[in-house]
Symmetry: C2
Subunit: 436 residues, 2 copies
Amino acid sequence: MADTISISLDELKALHPADLADRLQRLPHDEAAAIITQLPAPLAAHALGEMEKEHSTELLKLLSNERIGSLVAELPHEDAADLVAALPPAQRRDVLAKVPAKVSTALRALLRYGEDTAGGIMSDRFITLRAEMTVQESQELLRSRRDEPLDDVTYLYVTDEQERLAGIVSLRDLVFRRPERRIGEIMNRSVKSVRAQADQEELARQFEHYHYFGLPVLDADARLVGVVKASDILQVAKREATEDMQLMVGLSGEERALTPWHKSIRRRLPWLFVNLATAFAAASVVGLYESTIAKWTALAIFLPIIAGQGGNAGMQTLTIIIRDLALGELSPGDGRKALIKEMILGLINGLAIGIVVGLLGFWWKGDAILGLVAGAAMVLNQIAAAMSGVLIPLGLKAFKVDPALASSIFLTTVTDVAGFFFFLGLAALAIRWSGM
Amino acid sequence: MADTISISLDELKALHPADLADRLQRLPHDEAAAIITQLPAPLAAHALGEMEKEHSTELLKLLSNERIGSLVAELPHEDAADLVAALPPAQRRDVLAKVPAKVSTALRALLRYGEDTAGGIMSDRFITLRAEMTVQESQELLRSRRDEPLDDVTYLYVTDEQERLAGIVSLRDLVFRRPERRIGEIMNRSVKSVRAQADQEELARQFEHYHYFGLPVLDADARLVGVVKASDILQVAKREATEDMQLMVGLSGEERALTPWHKSIRRRLPWLFVNLATAFAAASVVGLYESTIAKWTALAIFLPIIAGQGGNAGMQTLTIIIRDLALGELSPGDGRKALIKEMILGLINGLAIGIVVGLLGFWWKGDAILGLVAGAAMVLNQIAAAMSGVLIPLGLKAFKVDPALASSIFLTTVTDVAGFFFFLGLAALAIRWSGM
C-alpha cells in the first residue's frame, strides 16, 4: 500500500512545511526519514513539527541524535519541546546536550508542563518591559530586538523585579506616547491571564467565549512564562471538538482514517467487547421471553424496530448534551431543564412513532393487539431513550469521567434492554389477558 | 420553567457582554427585552451580538426600530450586520434609515455576503496605506487615527488606486524604518489572501493548517474589503466541528440542550420517521424468515446482537471518516486505502467477536450449529459495517451532500439489513442442511 506518487526533492523544498508534513505522513517511515535528512534543516524541522505526533515519533526513531539536535534547534521552542517530549528519557538527555545551552534551558522549562495545558502550547517569544522604563527606552529596546523571530508584538508585557506580570502595553500605544513618559503610567493594569497548568480545553472555551487574541501565561508564582495566541488555540479547539465525537463511539481521539490497522484494533476491539457484553445482557431479556416469542413469532420482527428507534432518538439527545457540556454551555442548573425538555420530546416522538408503528403492525399482520403492544412499547422506550440521553453524560461527568466516553455504547444498552423489556413484557401480559 | 435567579440591574451591568448574553438567553424573551432596554446601549448591543442567533432574533422582535438602530450603531459592523440580517426586509430598511449614513453604508456592503462566507465574518476595521507614502507619512496617518476602535493593527495593508491589495507592512516594521523610506520599498508583496465568497469552513481549515494570525479578504475585483482574524475563526471552527456530530444523528447543527422543545421536534421527528422506514425495511428481512424463527426461537435472541455489533463497529469507522473529511485530512486517493484498512479491521474484529459469540451461543443454548451460524454472520456483518462506514460518507460527498448528514441512520440500516440477512439466511441454510 506504499504511496506511488513520486515527487522530486526540489518540488518538496518548495512546499509549505504544513503541506510537506502531509506528504511525508503518507510515505513509509523509512522513506520519509530519508527525505528529512536530505532537506534543509529549517524546512525539515518545521515539517516535523507540523506532523501528527504518531508519525513524528516514528520518524524520530530513524534519525540520529545529532540530526534531531540540529532540527530541534531550528524550531520555535514550544514545537521543539513537543518533539523532545516524544523521545525516550535517555535519548532526550542526549539530544538536549547537543543543542545550544540557551535552547536546552528553554526546552527544559517548557518540558515541565503537561502537553494538554496552557504551558504545553504557549510560546516563549514575547518582549517584556519594566514599569520604570520610559517610552523612549522601550522603543530602543524593541529596535535592538527587531531581528528576533517574534510571532507577534501586538502587546508588550510589563513585569516587576520578580518577573511577575504587572500590566500590558499595546505596540500601537507605545508608538504614539511622548518619549519621556513612564511605562508604568501608560500600561493597562487589568490584564486577563491564565495559569500554566490550565487545561487547554478550558483555555479554548475561554478564548472562544471572550474572543481573546492572546493571553499571557503565569506560573505558580505569578511569573510571566509565556503567551498563548488565538491561532495556537485553533488546533486545540478543533481537536477537542472532534475528540468527543470519537470518544462517544469508543474510539481514541487520536485515531485517523489512515492510522495503521494494528494500532486501530487495539483501541476499538475492547469497546466492541464491552458492547458485546451489554448486548448479551439485552439478549438475556429476550431469553426470558423465549416462550412468548415461540407462541407469537411476529414479535421477533418488531423487536429490533422498538429497540432501534430508541437507540436513534437517544443518540440525538446524547449528542446535544455532550456538545453543550463540551462547549461549556450547560450550567449546573440546566441539567434538570434539559431532562424535562427531552422527556416531553420523548413522549411526543413516542406517540407519533408509536401510533404509526401500531397502525403498520395492525395493517401488516392484521393483529390489533400486536399493534397496540408495539405502539405502547415505542412510547415507553422513547421516554427511556430521552432520559438516558441526558442522564448518561451527566452521570459520567459526576464521576469525573469524560461525558463522551463510550456513551453511545451505554445508551444503546439502555434502549435495547428497556425496549425488549417493554415490548416483550407487554406482549406476555397481552397473551395472558387474551388467553392466546 | 422560567428562570428564578434574580439579579439586580447593577450586577448585570458589571458582567462581560458574553456572560450577560448567557444570562439573557436563560430568561423568557420578554424579560430579556425589558432588561435590554434598561441597560446602557453599548453593553446591551454587545450582549445582543454575543447571543445565539435564535435568541437574538426573538429579542429583536420585541424592540422598537429606534432602539434597534441605536444598538446597531454601537456594534462592530460585522456584528451589526448579523443582527440586521435577521430582520424582515421592510424592518431592515427602516432600521438602516435610522443609523448614521456611514454605518448604513458599511452595513449594506457587508450584507451582500453570505453569513457562512469570509465576507460574513470579516471585520472592516483595518488601516490602509499607499505604496507611495513615506514611513513618516504612514506614522502620521496612524497617529491621526489612534482613537479609532481598531481590533488589532499588527499588520497594515497597502492598496493601489483601485483599492486592490498590493502588500502588507507589519506595525513593528513601520516603527523602525527610516522616516523618508517609501512604503512600496518596505512592504511584503507576497501576501496570502482569501476571497469574500470563500466558505467559512474551508477558511477555518486554512487557518488551522497554516497557523495564520489573520488574512485580508478581497472582493471579486481583488479589492481589499476586510480582514479575518484567528480569533474570529475560533468560533467557526468549533461550531463546524460540533455540527458534524449533530448532522450524523439527524439533528440540525443549531440545536442546543435548551432549545425549546417545539423547535427541536420539527427537526428531529422527520429523521426518526426516515429511520422508522429503514427499520421496517430491515424488519421485512426478518419477516421473510418468520418460519425459520418459528422453528428455532433462539435465533430471536441473537438477532439484535449481530445487528447491534455491526452498528457499533460501523459507527467507529463512520466517525473517523467524517472527522478526516471535515478536517480536510483525507485526500482523494486515500478513500481506497481507508476502505482496505477498515475491511482488514472488520475481518479481524469479526473473527474475534464471532468466535466469542459462537462459543457463547454453544455454551448458553448447547447448540453448536447456532454458535457456528452466529459466529459466521458476525464476521460477515463486521465486514459489511466497515465497508459502509467508509462508503456512506464518501458517497454522500460524491453527491455533494454533507458527508455527515444523517449518515448514522443510513449506516444502521445497512448493518441491520445485512446482519439479519446473513444470520437468518445462514440459519435457514443450516436448517435445510441438517434437516431440522
